[in-house]
């Protein structure tokens, strides 16, 4: 058994080492491209998912959200709860928000949306909304009668759901907001976009304004407290730490709010799997063709090998090993290109996508999975032609028939 493997490896290595260099380079190049293609889409998807997650955390939920106890409408004594939470070393900041649905009216157009009442200073510790302003300014604590609108509400600025929006509201315009039958006019202080349409379909007032509209002035109520933690802190750990503080409100991590994102991610995952299957099929066909051409050119050599007593399975194995060595080289080169070339390049030069900027995220486990699949394709793609030819009549092979 070992001597057979030794002969197969010997024949394969000599064939690659001393065979046609052009064919070897071409084959490895094509397999490198196939591996990159297999890994690239996964890396892009991982990058997009990461971006989704970042948008969710950076512009909407923070890392963890505290919500009222079951069946309670508000979190009471919100500021003391905030202080308690902020005592945890991993917590960067908290923002106690009021959250309700309201109806905006501008000229003839109306639109219902989520309205947040925030303390602008606290909010800046939790989300990056302040940096997301594309027109006007972010709110400040003393502001009254002023609102900032997401671009999906204001319209314009490349909003995705323009027709649903109020339509070209600009900074300085006055919009009418109705909440629970109470209507007030607000001056648009700023318009923001996070490029994440869900976050852009909201509006922000100061807490004082929203408390006034809800009739809960000076009650220190909140409907959610968004908590931002230091980078890399696992949400599960934060939740555990919060529970250990004796917090009895509902504690939810941002993952629990990411339903639609998971839907998008799963859809992209399906597309990725289809693309992988196509990529593997292409890999299989290319390996098949390359090995077949290689074998057809070596028909007589195979015949001679059989004539001098080299076993058929040894000959087949030598071609399979060749294909695996090609695949191995393709995987190594492709991985090196992605790991040390393309992925770091997109980190230093992020790619512009509708969601913002994105970098490729190379997942080693995924890359390993693709490498295994490519090896399997190379085995199948080489076994079939090698076996079919090696099985042919000895004299037909020797005579090159």
């Amino acid at each position: 058994m070992l001597e057979k493997a030794r002969v197969s490896f010997f024949l394969a290595s000599r064939s690659i080492g001393r065979g046609n260099k052009g064919i070897t380079i071409f084959t490895v190049f094509v397999l490198t491209l196939i591996f990159i293609q297999l890994v690239l889409f996964s890396s892009m998807l991982a990058g997009v998912t990461l971006k989704f997650n970042e948008l969710m955390v950076d512009f909407q939920t923070g890392n963890v959200v505290i919500e009222p106890k079951t069946e309670a409408r508000f979190i009471e004594d919100a500021s003391s709860l905030q202080k308690k939470i902020e005592s945890l070393p991993q917590v960067v900041g908290t923002s106690a928000r009021l959250k309700t649905t309201g109806n905006f009216r501008y000229k003839e157009k109306e639109m219902g949306t989520t309205v947040y009442g925030i303390d602008p200073a606290d909010e800046s510790f939790v989300t990056d909304l302040e940096d997301a302003m594309i027109s006007g300014e972010f709110l400040s604590r003393p502001d009254r009668g002023e609102v900032i609108l997401g671009r999906e509400v204001s319209g314009g600025f490349g909003a995705l759901m323009e027709s649903r929006s109020l339509g070209d509201v600009e900074v300085g315009d006055t919009v009418e907001l109705t909440i629970g039958g109470v209507t007030r006019q607000f001056r648009v202080k700023g318009i923001y976009t996070t490029r994440y349409f869900m976050a852009d379909a909201s509006a922000y007032l100061t807490r004082a304004d929203l408390e006034a509209m809800l009739g809960i002035e000076d009650r220190d109520f909140a409907q959610e407290i968004a908590v931002k933690t230091t980078d890399g802190t696992p949400e599960y750990d934060t939740r555990t730490a919060l529970l250990s503080l004796g917090i009895s409100e509902n504690i939810r991590t941002w993952h629990e709010f990411a339903g639609i994102l998971r839907l998008i991610e799963n859809t992209l995952g399906m597309i990725r799997n289809i693309m992988n299957a196509i990529g593997l099929l292409i890999a299989f066909v290319i390996i098949f063709v390359v090995i077949y051409v290689n074998i057809v050119n070596k028909k007589r050599q195979i015949g001679v090998q059989k004539a001098i007593g080299i076993e058929q399975n040894v000959i087949v194995a030598s071609f399979v090993l060749q294909a695996m060595l090609y695949a191995g080289a393709g995987v190594i080169l492709g991985y090196a290109f992605m790991r040390f070339g393309l992925a770091p390049y997109t980190v230093s030069h992020p790619v512009e996508i509708p969601l913002g900027t994105m970098s490729l995220k190379l997942d080693s486990a995924e890359a390993l999975n693709r490498a295994v699949l490519l090896f399997l394709a190379s085995i199948v793609g080489s076994v079939i032609p090698a076996y079919k030819l090696a099985q042919r009549d000895l004299l037909d092979l020797i005579w090159g028939k």
Binding site: R6, F10, R18, V304, I308
Partner: protein, 283 residues
């Protein structure tokens, strides 16, 4: 490599190419597989060679026996009977030349005897083993251990150097690296290519390539060496060198050789000539 010339008895050839009755010559006298690679010094035994067809009284010493071999090829709608019931016996240590006009079935007969092809009917018995009962893989193993081949166009593996071409079959036999490298170096030295072990076939002349091919065929000390028009692509001088090499191994090692040729002067190196015409042996 040293050769003990005293071990070689003189050969006396009859007009018909037959060995005279009672003539003696060296043969291995060893069972199949008993010789070792690189073991080119064998003791001589006497044999009673067969006649041009065969001598039924001399079963002892017969290494190959072809019985009523029929081989038919289909070429489109036409059936070509390449061999029409050929009977042949070859004694151990004989150097046989198979001759005949084009299409007479020379190579076909060689391929049947050398287990490169399977007859439609009839049997090939080598060293008492009925090869018609062997599977393809058994034939492959048999060829690996017991038979050697020299082809008209050398048929070297272009990606292997001289030494590798020679030792590949020893490697397949499971010999150690030292064993097969030593054996390859010895046999290549014996054919005069001791200084070209690492040379690739593409860098060699036709004569040198054919010498490598002979070395490959002999490296595992086969019971029978089959050569299909080994000099067809060589000039007269190189052909002579190759044939002398065959003769040397035949006489000094008792190597049984079956060679196809269509040149009369090539056949003069052989002990016996089997003449074929239209797939039948001519007496």
């Amino acid at each position: 490599m040293e050769i003990d010339r005293n071990q070689v008895e003189s050969l006396v050839k009859t007009e018909g190419g037959n060995l005279k009755k009672g003539a003696t010559r060296k043969t291995t006298g060893q069972p199949i597989n008993s010789r070792q690679p690189g073991d080119f010094r064998q003791s001589g035994d006497s044999i009673k060679p067969s006649g041009s067809l065969f001598d039924s009284s001399s079963i002892e010493g017969i290494i190959i026996e072809g019985i009523d071999i029929v081989r038919t090829f289909r070429m489109g709608e036409v059936q070509v009977r390449a061999l029409r019931g050929v009977n042949v016996r070859i004694a151990r240590g004989e150097f046989i030349a198979i001759m005949g006009p084009s299409g007479s079935g020379k190579t076909t007969l060689l391929n049947q005897l050398g287990l490169l092809d399977t007859p439609n009917s009839g049997k090939v018995i080598i060293e008492g083993t009925d090869t018609s009962r062997m599977s393809d893989s058994e034939k492959g193993r048999f060829r690996l251990h017991n038979l050697g081949y020299v082809f008209q166009d050398y048929a070297l593996l272009p990606e292997l150097n001289a030494s590798e071409n020679v030792y590949i079959s020893l490697m397949m036999q499971g010999k150690s690296k030292t064993e097969y490298e030593t054996a390859a170096a010895e046999i290549l030295t014996a054919v005069g290519l001791g200084d070209r072990l690492q040379q690739l076939p593409s860098k060699m002349s036709g004569g040198q390539q054919q010498r490598v091919s002979i070395a490959r065929a002999l490296a595992h000390s086969p019971e029978v060496l089959f050569a299909d028009e080994p000099c067809a692509n060589l000039d007269s001088q190189t052909s002579k060198e190759v044939l002398e090499l065959f003769k040397k191994f035949n006489q000094e090692q008792g190597q049984t050789i079956v060679m196809v040729t269509h040149e009369g002067w090539h056949a003069e190196y052989a002990d016996r000539i089997i003449k074929l015409k239209d797939g039948i042996i001519q007496v």
